[in-house]
């Protein structure tokens, strides 16, 4: 499992989540995104196309990050959810809280 951060030419930070986002690694993701927010980034896409599973702690950290980014006038978008992860967001109704796109490219285009 690992997290990758890269910035596209328009300044959007794209965060890749490889493996899983769970109770054991959620703080690492949170800190990386908060560091980028602190450094001035305001637009974020988290790309889950290489993610196997997310537990409720992982979902919780996404909720927390979304709030913090919004408070700074920014936006967090999610992309690349597989069918199981999409269902997870729907049953927890978190699909109503986040802008979710099929691919990271679609998320970037929507900013």
């Amino acid at each position: 499992m690992r997290f990758t951060l890269k910035k596209d030419k328009s300044g959007v930070v794209i965060v890749g989540v490889e493996g899983q986002l769970i109770v054991g690694n959620r703080q690492e993701l949170k800190q990386k995104v908060l560091d980028a927010l602190e450094e001035g980034s305001r637009k974020f896409v988290i790309d889950f196309s290489k993610t196997g599973y997310i537990d409720s702690s992982g979902l919780g950290v996404l909720v927390s990050l979304s709030k913090k980014i919004r408070e700074q006038g920014g936006e967090l978008r999610l992309a690349g959810l597989n069918a199981d992860l999409q269902t997870l967001f729907e049953l927890t109704k978190l699909d109503t809280l986040f802008a979710i796109t099929r691919t990271a490219e679609e998320a970037l285009a929507a900013f």
Binding site: Q20, V23, Y53, S56, G60
Partner: protein, 131 residues
């Protein structure tokens, strides 16, 4: 299969992989193992380590995997005082939607076929059936 997991949240991912990769082929579909079982077990372990054992390094979470012809049953027990599962608020209620915590049990209930607790409330049993 029996496993004693240290009360360290950083161990959850490895413990989940250990269980998931040691199930005999054909017990559950690959998709159920890769998503339902892994997510539900991560939830149960995280709850047991954090809330049950208070992340006390001297305590362990005990995992016991029971295999049937058409089911996998996973028992996860901690040393805590237990909790009343009926008093967990609905995380999908609009008032709770933006809360960071409180979705674990809700997620577990939707991913496995049966959830049971011991009388004290410090042991959970997850059953996933084939199919």
């Amino acid at each position: 299969m029996k496993l004693d997991v240290p009360s360290d949240l950083g161990m959850v991912g490895d413990a989940v992989e250990l269980v998931a990769t040691h199930l005999p082929p054909g017990t559950l579909s690959p998709r159920r193992i890769s998503f339902n079982l892994r997510t539900a077990l991560a939830e149960a372990l995280g709850n047991a380590i954090r809330y049950g054992n208070g992340e006390d390094p001297d305590r362990f979470v005990r995992v016991y995997v029971e295999l049937g012809g058409d089911f996998v049953r996973i028992h996860v027990d901690d040393d805590g005082h237990g909790f009343d599962s009926s008093r967990v608020p609905d995380p999908t209620h609009p008032d709770n939607l933006e809360r960071e915590y409180g979705r674990g049990l809700f997620v577990i209930r939707h991913l496995v076929d049966d959830v049971a607790f011991n009388e004290k409330g410090n042991g959970i049993c997850l059953t996933l059936r084939a199919g």
